[in-house]
Amino acid sequence: MDAKTSRLLQRLRIISQVFFIWLFFFLLLKSGGAAIEHLPQTGFFFYIDPLFLWVNILAGPFFYIFLLALVPLILTLVFGRFFCGWVCPFGALNQFFTWLGSRGQRKKIPVHRNSLRLKYLLLIILLVASLFASQLLGWLDPFALLTRSSSVVLLPGANFLAQHALQSGASNQGWGGKIVKPFYDFSRRFLLTVPQRTFVQAAAIGLLFFALLLLNLYRRRFFCNTLCPLGALYGFLAKYSLIHLPLNDNCRKCGVCSNHCTYYGSPYQDYLKSECVLCLNCLNDCPFAAIDVRLQLPRAGKRPALDAGRRRILGAAGCGLALAALTQIGVTKKARAHGFVRPPGAVAEKEFLKKCVRCGACMQACPTNAIHPAVFQAGLEGIWTPILVPVNGYCEYECVRCTRVCPTHAIARLTLEEKKKFKIGTAVINRSACYTYADGYNCAVCEEHCPVPEKAIRFREVEVNNFRGKLKKVQQIYVVPDLCIGCGICENVCPRTDAPAIRVGAEEEQRENTF
């Protein structure tokens, strides 16, 4: 293919990648502050993700919207792994870091088949484990990974840095402050999230994410080549695809085409259809226009692809079974023995763990920063699933955002009226800590904030000898369990500074009563 077309194709690829990165962050950012009726379809990237099409067929109820995922699957049979190279926003980020790392160096490294193979084995392990236990593909699925890392680390981190820079600038007393102030006021109103969002697991998720990005400096598109289960799925199919990069008579066997190949191969040597993401760097690198792009039926017996190996696949399936067993025996028998509370609309725990893809879209959408990725509260299989942390934020009574953005309906859609009645837990008072009992003086901050119009938190006036030894009328707090919906604002506002004297647990949570 001539140089002009080659360059054009490569540029088109970059434009496409930039567009999808923009689309991804645009949707995610918008879901952070939008009014409920204007929430964007953040689920888009999950709807076109065949990993979750599979998971949803395998693991329970099937959603028609996931049929969209058949489109990239079918296109893969024609164009190979174009999705990884042209569409995937995380792939684009990896490509960008690879490009950063490749400036000025042309080290020849042979194709490392074992590391390329790992992703196929991981796909098998996670698929088998997801079939027998809960849905674990979200740990590594590129969209779940990118959404989670962005919601929990990237966006709050950027917000932190921007806010501090602008604020310190705006508080400058001289002319500098006068210049920065309008920018600060504008961003404060339209861009920044104040107060700053914090997440329990930000450090862990962030370190993992940045490590994955930095590994690109060491191996080209490290994540895509080595770990990505979605890439592996496309790789399996790409083997049978029609796309081909044949060499024409101009080829002088110089090997320049491998200079920027994402998997260290090239159309000339070690051409692997299953690994080629159609980045078309080789076309552009070739000084002799010796590489063509063609659609042709693969000749029998000549399918240039990586062979994962039957024994390895069987072994991976065995590992998947072991992982499934581990997640199932590593928990207490009663799920309710756990102290955590799920967002409103979350389906029953067992089903929830199969549907939730651990993407953290709900964490980004939650206006009060109440939803956090679990550490081990929900067991090994529940890592990064959403739980409410009321000391950090409460479930806003007038809000259904998390139920709207969940791509897999693990948090079912609720209307505002349904949500206001949806019981996610019950508040319980610790009488040894509550001021109105322990110290004998008035407080009632929780009563004041309780959003249930009939008041799920009330007080009764009692005469007690308080801590000063005086007989005093005190408004002692109590909870009406039937009315309490478990929103956690009481725990959030409790003025005790050591630990809240009122806490919300999963007691009587509605989702478990549907059976």
Partner: protein, 287 residues
């Protein structure tokens, strides 16, 4: 600006009128919230008496909750429209609207309709910013050092525009309790001796004008409410330059005996004013 802040803060015992002084309360009934607010201000002597040309004016409504106008948990934006317009007409250089909310600020400001209204009129709508807290010493028995947003201190005039509503632990929340919105920090701790804290805050912070929105009042399950059946239409606005007398008149309007409200008792004990409505000159008119 920083120096003028001292003007707003009166030491204990200085801000309140002596019992029997000619502190006046005007109560206007009927008509739209906008109309009766304008009338009430006119009856109390007009905004020109309170605001000087070039003043920076703080209008402090109750924007505490993520609730709509009909739910009557936040000040009616139509009342604010009248106040802001009058303040600008009286020559205010700038009108600031701000509250330290209980629910998430954005939700409260938007859902209550206050932000849109105030911005339309050209007011400076501010969200509370923790970086703008300064520790202020109220030098009183219960309330001493406490963080206050400097926005409330760095203005020339302060107009307190609360909504009259039921409050679980305080009984009612009117103008004196509305001043909690200038405070930051762990405000829940102030509930311990709520009545005394309310009285000392009101005594230690000067309001140049108080306008109580009693157009719709929340009768039960306050201060947050939510049920429309708890809301009653009273179509009244109370204006006064004396914060305690405004509260006494509002309590009577609500149907409560001011003597049964602990915070008014505490204010009375501090000699801030009269607790007996019969001893307060109230002018009531219907439009």
């Amino acid at each position: 600006m920083l120096f003028s802040s001292g003007l707003l803060l009166a030491g204990p015992g200085r801000a309140q009128a002596k019992p029997g002084a000619e502190a006046q309360v005007v109560q206007v009934k009927g008509g739209s919230p906008y109309e009766i607010t304008r009338r009430a201000v006119a009856e109390i002597g007009g905004m020109g008496k309170i605001i000087s040309r070039g003043d920076v004016v703080m209008v402090k409504p109750n924007i505490g909750w993520n609730r709509t106008v009909e739910q009557a948990a936040c000040t009616n934006p139509e009342v604010l429209r009248a106040v802001i317009e009058l303040a600008f007409n009286a020559g205010a250089k700038k009108v600031v609207v701000m509250d330290n909310t209980c629910h998430k600020a954005e939700d409260c400001y938007q859902h209550s309709g206050i932000e849109a209204m105030a911005r339309k009129l050209g007011a400076d709508v501010r969200y509370s910013d923790e970086n703008r807290l300064v520790t202020h010493d109220f030098k009183d028995e219960y309330l001493s050092k406490w963080p206050v947003f400097r926005d409330f201190l760095e203005v020339d005039k302060f107009i307190n525009v609360p909504i009259l509503k039921h409050h679980g632990s305080a009984g009612l929340t009117i103008a004196m309790k509305n001043l909690f919105g200038i405070l930051g920090g762990n405000r829940g701790k102030l509930h311990r001796d709520m009545a005394e804290n309310i009285a000392e805050l009101a005594a230690g912070f000067r309001c140049h004008l108080v306008l109580v929105d009693a157009y719709r009042i929340l009768l039960r399950d306050g201060p947050v409410g939510g049920r429309l059946s708890d809301v009653e239409l009273r179509q009244t606005v109370i204006a006064s330059t004396h914060i305690m007398h405004a509260d006494v008149a509002a309590a009577v309007l609500f149907g409560k005996d001011p003597k049964e409200l602990e915070f008014l008792q505490a204010a009375y004990a501090k000699k801030m004013g009269e607790i007996d409505i019969a001893r307060i000159p109230v002018k009531t008119l219907t439009v």
